[in-house]
Amino acid sequence: MAAFFQSDLFINSIPILLAVGFVWALVQAGRQPLWAEAYRRLRRNPMAIGAIVIIGLYASVGFLDSLGRFDARDGRRHTIIDRLFEARYHGQRERTYSAPMATMTTGEPTPHELLFPHQHLMGTDGVGDDVVYLTLKGCRTALIVGVVTQLIVTPLALFFGLSAGYFGKRVDDAIQYFYTVLDSIPGILLLIALLLVMGRGLPQICIALGITSWVGLCRLARGETLKHREREYVRAARALGVSHWRILFRHILPNLLPIVIISTTLGISGQMLTESILSFLQIGVEPGTGSWGNMVDAARLELAREPVVWWNLAAAATALFILVLAFNILGDALRDAIDPRLRSS
């Protein structure tokens, strides 16, 4: 059984299933009038289209970097992105730093000639890896941190928020107490404590970020549910004998979807920015995993060099900046498209 979970078949099927599920959800949503209207408004917004295209590009890089095969010769899993760059550089590394498109290395007492002059678009890093390759490897990590964390946050927040708002009384008191306590520990300190205790790693980061960031959405959901609880449609459902959980998830939840989708989109960019701070605090993703946070952190120490090694930092920071910006713009555009009432005039 354990062998199955480590097999290529299983590991490769996860991203494919996720992608198929996501597209299916989008198509299904497009059939409903509310969302069809939202799509129409989104399409008229060129900024939103740009943001979606950019996110799509990043997502496809992340997708290609998730599909791969285990190679028994070196005991590593090679993804499609790995293969592409291995083919281009014949699986070889340069000696050390080299500037973008340079012919010689830098940072050595005597510069050496590069194996592949004029071929490293963004130069190479300290161990001679191509920076473009490292940057592309970071896509997957950033997207996992953003999306998986939000996949933890949203259900958690909705479950607690909806039940607190709907059932009221003791349930409400207990949930409110729970999140007030959690919220009164400053997020970054709780994050540090959690990661210190759980150890480094991508799953740990997603869990820790999830635990520290569901309270906001939970509060929002609770407030909205309180408003909806007394509306006629809920009373009618109750009078017809619909069960509580069905009322909550079939009747009230769809009305909360606009705020959920907006806060999820904006949350993703927040999580990705936080991940880079975690790398700075040395509790980010393990060093072996490609991550922009780790790249920025490693490059930070190289700025004191003469000549300045800037390309590492620039590549990772730009990649992260563009993705976060795209999510921020998409979040704003979604707010305008889904629920014009929420528009910040």
């Binding site: 107490y177 007030t180 210190l196 759980m198 605090l281 992260l320 900046f321 976060v324 910040s344």
Partner: protein, 312 residues
Amino acid sequence: MARYVVRRILYAVPILLGVVLITFFLFYIVISPQQMARRQLGKNPTDEQVHQWLHQRGYDKPVVLQFKDHVVDLFLFRFGNSDVTNEPIWKRIKEGGPVSAQLSLLLLIGGLIGSISVSLFVAYYRGTYIDYWGMFLCVLMMSIVYIVWVVAGQYLLGKILKYSPLVGYREGWTSWHFLMLPVVIGILQGLGSSVRFYRTVMLDEMNLDYVRTARAKGVSEVAILFKHVLKNAMTPILTSTVSIIPQLILGNLVLESFFGIPGLGGITVDAVNSQDFATVRAITFLGAVLYIAGLILTDVSYALFDPRVRLE
């Protein structure tokens, strides 16, 4: 008033108890003292060493007893000694606290002044290109990684303009010299999101009837903004300021350790790097206490400044 404050403080007790429970859960249950000892003592410690480590720090007592000690100690602010250096944690907090407070206060006040004035400016030109591009700039600023702000600021102000020392700290009057760069960077970093939020608050106020009345009376647009709108917008702004406090701690963590300022943030980062569980535990609790104190202060200041808020 005094009764209100007392009651507000009493309300905080169960919350603090919850915080103590969470820290206990994290630092005694999720990771057992055994594991802490092993991580702390490096590769393959003997059982003897582990036992000694546990005994020295009182981690070998029964769990119930440890829990009692943990609760009592934290509530009395007895933080004990660091797991790594064996120094009393309080000593380091006392050294770092004032420095951090100085930095945080400067950041808070500077940030408030900066973002309120920018948002007033943007609100004055609402609906024009200044507003549009200003908001776009805010989104751009929000999307920049913290560390890039730090690196770019250090490079521009320090290396090229030779404006201030790059890193370090000195006690006394010249400390502003060292604090200026981190404060400027901290303020700029937070500007984007707060200006966006304050602008929304101000525009919401501007659609209200009293503003229309003021306009009808012939009050100038500037006077409306500064006198009427600003006063009323202060309530949501104050509320959001409390939620900034944890962010200040976050900012401090990064800024302090990057600029070598010996504050609480620096201590925390050191503690994380050296896996000093006792210190992280203490700082987490202290952070929660400070945050709750900030919440109480806001509520009290509401009651003081806003006559509409009654103390029930």
